[in-house]
């Protein structure tokens, strides 16, 4: 894989939490590469290190040893300020609990990364409304998160994650709080954004609907990669026209 095409590269990545009676090795020597535009699922039982690995890839926590590169930058070498700037410009997050800012409307939540990047209001709205049109959120722009269903909140969270056109979107159990219809719709939406915008998605998930639709499935057991399989295109639903 050429360096230009690699979005994520980890090398012997470890995360050890000092804990009594003995330290917890949440991630153990993970080495992997993820290419631009991939739709990757990381699966595994609870405690297998999925979320910790996702946090390491997102620069939300620092590794005990090893390296993480995102969009060509070594996260372990970045200052906290540079790491925050990288998160803003190159990484989008989707969380299980949606985690929208409760005081901002759906549109304001989605445009928040652009606000931080200093885009003019008109340009922010144009970009967000374009995505809202793609994900079926028209007419709900001014609602506060508390007035949206779980599925709608997660759509806004996804819009927020992709609006800044990050190199990488990290989604931690994005369908866990959604019913099957909302989960299906959300996955379709993310596949659409993957195809249309070339966004690279990495999921941490238990959900078989997600693992089945992923291009690549990485299985983690006890913090280590047990298997890393590129899945057959036939198993995935056809791309939207």
């Amino acid at each position: 894989m050429s360096d230009d095409n690699v979005v994520v590269r980890t090398q012997d990545l470890w995360k050890i939490y000092p804990q009594e009676p003995e330290p917890v090795q949440a991630v153990r020597g993970v080495t992997l590469e993820i290419a631009r535009g991939e739709f990757v699922a990381m699966a595994g039982p609870s405690g297998s290190g999925k979320t910790t690995l996702l946090n390491l890839l997102g620069g939300l926590t620092r590794p005990t040893r090893g390296t993480v590169e995102v969009a060509g930058k070594d996260l372990t070498a970045l200052s906290n300020r540079a790491l925050a700037a990288l998160r803003l410009e190159s990484i989008g997050f989707v969380f299980q609990a949606y985690n929208l800012l409760p005081v901002l409307s759906a549109l304001e939540n989605a445009e928040f990364p652009l606000l931080l990047r200093g885009l003019p209001a008109e340009e922010r709205r144009r970009r967000v409304l374009g995505i809202f049109g793609d994900i079926g959120m028209e007419g709900l722009e001014n609602r506060l998160p508390g007035k949206l269903s779980g599925g709608q909140q997660q759509r806004v969270a996804v819009a927020r994650a992709v609006v800044g056109e990050p190199a990488l979107v990290l989604a931690d159990e994005p369908t866990a709080n959604l019913d099957s219809a909302a989960s299906g719709a959300l996955l379709e939406m993310m596949e659409h954004l993957n195809r249309e915008y070339g966004a690279t998605f990495v999921f941490a998930t238990h959900d078989p609907r997600v693992t089945e639709r992923a291009h690549r499935l990485i299985r983690l057991v006890d913090g280590a990669v047990e298997s890393d399989v590129r899945q057959d295109d036939q198993r995935r639903p056809p791309a939207a026209p």
Binding site: R87, L88, E89, V103, L104, L114, E165
Partner: protein
């Protein structure tokens, strides 16, 4: 496996410098303050109440001090006393101002930066002497005054209990305290002899007739003070056109330092300028002690208010750990996350401060603008303090400086109380904060 055919991307600008995000923090802070209306109101209520009480207490304290000072200086040597150096210590006629010095001093008081602050100017010739009648002789403080000027300056003309105050043109007249009149068995129309050391050093006497008696309520004044016309005294004591003091009464005690400084700057070193704090140091100390004991009480009040704010903001931070985690995941630095919380505290403090000022001033003005009557607390007897009668009615004094001080105190409390929660918000473990509660 990647998607090759993707939409062409518009180029997005680089991240702005963090400083330009201040208004975003402000927006978030205001929205958060409004979102948690009940918490914000409770916190704001503590601050508003604290500030309103602070303003009320300061207005009354300043009013009480103004009353003490005004009472003392109107009987005494004014807010500012212009004298010959050494008179304050010696009290002797040899330490007097000449006619030329008085002219110089009066010219300094007419300066445009000083004149508007002055309510009255009164020349006085003061000596210690003996007051005697056919019945007795007692030591007395003899103050020779300009009747017209003194009628405006002194509060004693309003304390007349018999006869009347000195009138312009009076010659051999005296206005005496009731205690002194009693001791000398004098009434209005009675004659008495005043004896003192004249300018030449000789003891000299002057016959005067009592035209009025006064009761100030201050025993040492009522039993020992005699007012005579200054023209009479100048002739009697051999000090033509001289005075021992040019007493200056100001419109507000708070202008004392300013006027004293301005006049001092314009006068030669042979003329002394004393602020009331120097002329009445015991009163100045009392005011200072009262001020600081008030501040100590208010400091305690404000520590309690600060703890209430700290508690409210900190609880809010602890309840919003995930929110702060999200902000950092989205690209804010830890310090910027702290700024959001800090700005919230400052917004809340500023809003409470303004509300507190409005309420504090309004309530004090509406209920007590004509004075708060403490007669019931003082009992029936007069209370004197540092040579002045303390009025049982305290009229609050409002000053811009005082309002700004109170507002600043509230803001400082708000800022200080927000620092720790801001620091706590910036130091959260983002990964931990983002964990889903199962």
């Amino acid at each position: 496996m990647t998607n090759a055919a993707v939409r062409p991307r518009d180029s997005l600008p680089k991240t702005l410098r963090p400083g330009s995000r201040a208004w975003i923090f402000f927006l978030l802070s205001v929205r958060n303050v409004l979102r948690n209306a009940r918490r914000s109101l409770l916190t704001a209520a503590a601050m508003t109440f604290g500030l309103a009480v602070l303003l009320w207490i300061r207005a009354l304290t300043d009013g009480a001090h103004e009353s003490w000072v005004t009472g003392a200086v109107r009987i005494g040597t004014g807010h500012v006393a212009i004298q010959a150096p050494g008179f304050a210590r010696s009290g002797r006629l040899t330490d007097r101002l000449s006619a030329a010095q008085l002219d110089t001093a009066e010219a300094a008081l007419r300066a445009p930066d000083v004149a508007p602050l002055i309510r009255a100017i009164a020349p006085r010739l003061e000596v210690s002497g003996l007051a005697s009648s056919a019945e007795a002789a007692v030591p007395a403080r003899i103050e020779a005054v300009d009747p017209a000027a003194e009628a405006v300056f002194s509060s004693l003309p309003a304390s007349t209990v018999g006869g009347s105050f000195l009138a312009p043109g009076d010659r051999l007249a005296a206005y005496v305290g009731v205690g002194l009149a009693r001791r000398l068995a004098l009434g209005v129309g009675s004659r008495m002899v005043l004896t003192a050391q004249g300018a030449s050093g000789d003891i000299t006497g002057q016959l005067v007739r009592v035209v009025g008696t006064f009761q100030s309520g201050v025993p040492e004044i009522d039993e020992g003070l005699v007012y005579v016309p200054i023209a009479t005294a100048r002739a009697w004591l051999g000090t033509p056109a001289a005075a021992t003091t040019l007493a200056v009464l100001l419109r507000s005690s708070y202008a004392t330092e300013r006027v004293a400084r301005a006049v001092r700057r314009r006068l030669p070193s042979g003329i002394a300028v004393l602020a009331w704090q120097e002329a009445a140091p015991e009163l100045a100390s009392a005011v200072k002690i009262d001020d600081w004991s008030g501040y100590a009480f208010l400091a305690i009040l404000y520590v309690i208010v600060a703890l209430a704010i700290l508690n409210a903001v900190l609880m809010s931070v602890l309840n919003r750990r995930r929110e702060f985690g999200v902000l950092q995941a989205l690209g804010l630095t830890a310090r910027e996350t702290g700024w959001v919380v800090f700005t919230e505290g400052v917004v809340l403090s500023a809003a409470s401060g303004i509300l507190g000022i409005v309420i504090g001033l309004s309530v004090t003005w509406l209920l007590w603008r004509h004075g708060m009557d403490f007669t019931a607390l003082m009992g029936s007897g007069d209370i004197t303090f540092s040579g002045a009668l303390v009025s049982p009615v305290i009229v609050p004094v409002f000053r811009v400086q005082q309002v700004l001080f109170c507002l600043a105190a509230t803001l400082v409390i708000g800022v200080v109380a927000s620092l720790y929660p801001a620091r706590a918000a910036g130091r959260i473990d983002v990964a931990e904060a983002m964990k889903f509660d199962r």
